[in-house]
Symmetry: C2
DNA sequence: CTGTGTGAATTTTTTCACAGCT
DNA sequence: AGCTGTGAAAAAATTCACACAG
């Protein structure tokens, strides 16, 4: 059906959702694509084109109803449900993720966390008791988990990905600094601060070697 | 000079660098664009095209020398120097970033960290003594800092960005869940796990509503 | 008038395909 | 024979510009 929607478009939708919230907070009930674009850092035409992939949401001459469009985008993104998520790896980073407060209001809740270190297993972080990594596959199957957050070192990550995909995970938020290979029908999103920094320095070096800022 | 290099190309270079390291670890000295592409998840043609923006690095009939290409890409990305970076915000997340071990080997080192909370200021995390936020601008200027990592709550982030940009920062790694507006010549990279998760659920919902996987 | 929705035009990015070097 | 570097072709994404609705 709607499988021909460009991925770049989908990537922008959460942004729009966030911008709409900013308008709602300012008690603005109606926005034009120009308003929304200014807030999102996107051209008005792009907003309209993006939305047009999913239907007609605006009123000509007026714009978009903030609340209605929020609801529509929430539904389109599948955020009208709360997604159970598991965390793999409860080291420094994993602990920070477990105590991260923003997942829940945004449609996600961490239901369980796993680690391979026997010292960590059994301890409690943010009211979640850490389970041994051996139980992952069973847990995923029994609880029909679709999303996993991966916060383990790079070398363990590759094998773990195979395992959890085999068990039924369809979306992975990966913090390991690797480029995982996953089947077509599995979504993967990488969080990679070093990569991000390294793409910045290219421009910064240019600036440095160029007198006129 | 080389200002007409597409940003998508630059975004891929750190990936190539990482793949090259994988080959080096396997003691492979020579790789073809096909090899490198398989490792990076990119087509061979794209690798060759990307590299062609910067010069000729391969030998026809053979491929690329792993070590030489590593050095070239390192230099191109401006990673043949180590970049001093400051951290703004030493809460849960900031602390995790301070103790993150991967920045240093990748060309970055955190030289100082700032916070607005008087309880946190003066304490020591990972051998860095947290400074009061009021000293940021002076510090940036005095030490010619070009890169900042922003790990403060969203509402404080907007103002802070203006301040540090004014003081001379040219690259920001932003962990706040906002879409910052910065001048053209300032690089910004957002780390936004919620946004990443929200783009995944679109596909996951489709899968769910679609019987054939 | 104002601002959406959308085909058409433009620009950007990717892929193709092959000449030429080793 | 093998693989790069690169113009040309194709595909994808963005922007334009305007008919039409409120």
């Amino acid at each position: 059906m709607s499988l021909d929607i460009p991925d770049v478009v989908i990537q922008r939708l959460p942004q729009y959702l966030r911008s709409l919230r900013a308008f709602k907070n300012k008690d603005i009930a109606l926005v034009s694509s120009t308003n929304l674009g200014a807030e999102s850092g996107v051209t008005p035409a792009q907003i309209r084109k993006d939305l047009s992939y999913f239907g007609k949401f605006g009123k000509q001459g007026q714009g978009y109803n903030v609340e209605a469009l929020t609801n529509d985008l929430t539904r389109i993104l599948g955020l009208d449900q709360s997604w159970p998520v598991i965390l793999l790896g409860v080291g420094r980073l994993g602990k920070a993720i477990l105590t991260y407060p923003d997942f829940t209001p945004e449609g996600f809740y961490i239901v369980s966390a796993f680690d391979s270190d026997p010292v960590i297993v059994g301890t409690k972080v943010a009211s979640i008791t850490i389970k041994p990594v051996e139980q992952i596959k069973t847990y995923i199957r029994d609880n029909n988990i679709k999303i996993a957050i991966l916060a383990v070192p790079g070398d363990s990550a590759v094998n773990l990905i195979d395992e959890i995909v085999q068990a039924g995970v369809k979306g992975i938020l990966n913090y390991a600094p690797i480029t995982p290979k996953v089947p077509e029908n599995v979504q993967i999103q990488n969080i990679d601060p070093v990569h991000s920094l390294q793409t910045m320095t290219f421009h910064l070096s240019e600036i440095n070697s160029n007198p006129n800022n």
